[in-house]
């Protein structure tokens, strides 16, 4: 996608460059050049639209050095803002998941396992249990890997329809079926009487609006809200249906896989990203076989400023006919959620298998190119799968830890710090980075440490009412 933008009129560049520093996904080399180019241009012209064809050449030479510094400044200047832009949705998702786990007991009851984890953990010996959980985790991971590769292959051979169909089905499933179950359980918990007709109406409205928002156009906030809800639903499903040790093992292995898939030159996600870039397409929901949605959300930058600059975007759209189709897809506002996010989402929505892939895809996906609305607005993108796994970690911590709220808090802070560090690395390296490993590692370390070490200490302290 980025490549395509290069051919587009200059002002597009202006938009794009801003994006890069913020982007989680990363910038490719061409992007950085363009970025530099754009930055200088941006600095020069108040009106991006004015920068056009005539200028670029001159600008490039003059501003190359300047650009680098400016880039860095912009990076850091927007860095904190974007970190917060990511903190808020991640926090919201985690809060929803923890609140649900604490109040609705459905999600903590063991009602069986998914077919992807055929081995039970209710075994007699510890060794048997360990073996079973390792096997379970291995099966899940291989499913994920297969899905990712399938997605990459589909993308490479341009089977967009298949991917689209897949995404739509996943989002349908997630929006209607899972939320129906969720709503039912919440009603049961609070003993609220409800008739089927009302429920049908509510779910129908919720689902349809969700589909429209995610796959098509919609207000930014609403899209973000829907994405958060979907991630939370998916995380809840995971928490319910994955047995203990398997869940922790899967979290650990997924982070390793994420690291490998995004950074290795032959990794599927990396190939996905590169292919998308070669074709100058936005990384797109289609790619992600994420069953759910869409990607749309990612596209637009999230801030209100972006909206103000909507007019600018309009011009861009006109100028970039080639991008039209992508624009449509990309319609989704960024809202700061990255494509990965969407992908993840997609994945999550569908059967479990989809998730890993989408996640991976999502993470790998570079920012969306086009939309660029406002240079200010460049958001950072975070894969939807990341949301889901973070929430799974925190949800599991609140559900099964003996330290309860202490452990939950500790994991929450650990994940946020991991996210900060990841974004910092993104700002430094400016290429697509996996968001999972650092945060999940911190989260896991803190979970186990807090649960086993800190909890007894705090219990004793609270008992004697001693404060440290």
């Amino acid at each position: 996608m980025t490549e395509l933008s290069a051919h587009l009129p200059q002002f597009q560049h202006g938009q794009l460059t801003e994006n890069f520093p913020d982007n989680h996904l990363s910038n490719t080399n061409d992007n950085s050049e363009r970025r530099r180019h754009d930055n200088s241009e941006r600095r020069r012209n108040d009106n991006p639209e004015a920068e056009t064809n005539g200028q670029p050449q001159n600008n490039i030479q003059q501003v190359v050095e300047q650009d680098e510094e400016e880039d860095e400044e912009l990076t850091l200047k927007y860095g904190a803002k974007h970190v917060i832009m990511l903190f808020v949705p991640v926090t919201l998702c985690m809060v929803v998941v923890v609140a649900t786990i604490k109040s609705v007991s459905f999600y903590t009851r063991k009602d069986g396992q998914l077919i992807y984890t055929p081995f039970t953990e209710e075994t007699e010996t510890v060794g048997q249990r360990a073996l079973n959980s390792v096997l379970n985790a291995a099966i899940m991971i291989s499913v994920i890997i297969v899905m990712t590769i399938l997605l990459v292959v589909l993308y490479k051979y341009r089977c967009y329809k298949v991917i689209h169909g897949w995404l739509i089905i996943s989002s349908l499933l997630l929006l209607f079926f899972f939320s129906f179950i969720y709503l039912g359980e919440v009603f049961k918990t609070y003993n609220v009487a409800m008739d089927y007709i009302t429920v049908a109406l509510m779910i129908w409205n919720f689902g349809v609006v969700g589909m429209i928002c995610i796959h098509w156009k919609g207000p930014l906030r609403l899209q973000q809200a829907y994405l958060i809800m979907i991630s939370a639903l998916m995380a809840l499903v995971f928490i319910k249906y994955l047995p203990e040790w398997t869940a922790w093992l899967i979290l650990a292995v997924i982070s390793v896989y994420d690291l490998v898939a995004v950074l290795c030159p032959k990794g599927p996600l990396r190939m996905l990203v590169e292919t998308a870039q070669e074709r100058n397409e936005t990384l797109f929901p289609a790619l992600i076989y994420s069953s759910t949605m869409i990607w749309l959300v990612n596209m637009a930058e999230k801030d209100p400023e972006a909206q103000r600059k909507a007019s600018k975007n309009a011009t861009y759209d006109n100028k970039a006919p080639a991008n039209q189709t992508q624009n449509e897809d990309a319609e989704a506002d960024d809202g700061g959620f990255s494509q990965e996010w969407q992908q993840q989402r997609d994945n999550r929505i569908g059967p479990v298998e989809s998730t890993p892939e989408s996640r991976a895809a999502v993470q790998a996906l570079p920012s969306n190119s086009q939309t660029s609305e406002d240079p200010e607005e460049r958001g950072v993108k975070l894969g939807l799968g990341d949301f889901i796994f973070y929430s799974v970690l925190v949800g599991k911590a609140s559900a099964t830890a003996s330290g309860d709220w202490n452990t939950t808090l500790a994991c929450f802070v650990a994940i946020l710090i991991g996210l900060c560090l990841t974004l910092l690395l993104l700002a430094i390296f400016k290429k697509a980075l996996p968001a999972l490993p650092i945060s999940i590692t911190f989260g896991l370390v803190f979970y186990f440490a807090t649960d086993n070490l800190v909890q007894p200490f705090m219990d004793q302290l609270a008992f004697h009412q001693i404060y440290i």
């Binding site: 904190a80 803002k81 917060i84 903190f87 309860d404 440490a449 070490l453 004697h464 404060y467 440290i468």
Partner: protein
């Protein structure tokens, strides 16, 4: 009150939020390490001996206090480096956030985390059924816990300011004073079912620390008077 502090002063600026969370993180890590030490010491000792356990607990607490201060120092170092980076990268050559603000935010971060850890399980239990103090323990348990937590959060905030100020101007005695105060407050909680022994000194110390921090931050009695009388 701590939440109010957070909302009014920190939530506006994203950089401050990051510093806050990082501060909380540092406190958490110090807690982790200190509980690790305590845990090891407990496992290595006789679980039946009550006095020994109490003694170990005291030892653990003191050690934890020292570790917390050590981590505050480390955090200070990190923030210094960060400030230099921010200054270099900012457009107009001056940092978007001053070291005092950072000290304040770091203090609040530490305080919030320690307060949360102290209170939250208590609060969760308080939602459930039961009566306080039925077994002969003090009936004021919740109330005193709440007050103690609040005083501790404020204290952490002030200590943050004092500590950073001491580090900035290389006044070692300030740093030592903070450490001593922290130890004193923790020590006073050992008296705990006798609440007079712990709450009162803690509040006194807090008032002292507050005044000191205020003076250090450039306030003065005049400012205070003007503020209170709403003069412009």
């Amino acid at each position: 009150p701590a939440l109010g502090l957070f909302l009014f002063t920190i939530a506006r600026d994203p950089l401050r939020i990051i510093i806050l969370i990082a501060g909380a993180f540092f406190w958490l890590v110090s807690l982790l390490l200190s509980s690790l030490i305590w845990f090891i010491s407990v496992k290595a000792s006789d679980p039946q001996d009550e006095r020994l356990q109490k003694g170990l607990l005291i030892f653990g607490v003191m050690f934890s206090v020292l570790l917390q201060e050590a981590f505050r120092f480390l955090y200070y170092k990190l923030l210094r480096k960060a400030i230099e980076g921010l200054v270099a990268l900012s457009e107009d050559g001056c940092s978007p956030i001053s070291i005092q603000q950072m000290a304040y935010v770091a203090g609040v971060g530490f305080g919030l985390m320690s307060g949360a850890f102290s209170m939250v399980n208590l609060l969760a239990d308080a939602l459930g059924p039961g009566t306080v103090g039925i077994h002969g323990d003090s009936q004021l348990y919740f109330l005193t816990s709440a007050f103690m937590t609040m005083v501790l959060i404020f204290l952490h905030t002030f200590w943050g300011i004092l500590f950073f100020h001491g580090c900035e101007h290389r006044r070692w005695w300030e740093i030592v004073a903070v450490i001593v105060m922290h130890l004193a407050v923790s020590g006073s909680t050992f008296f705990n079912p006798l609440y007079v022994g712990s709450l009162v000194p803690s509040y006194l110390l807090m008032a002292t620390a507050a005044a000191w921090a205020y003076l250090l931050s450039g306030g003065s009695a005049q400012n205070l008077r003007r503020f209170l009388l709403c003069k412009s």
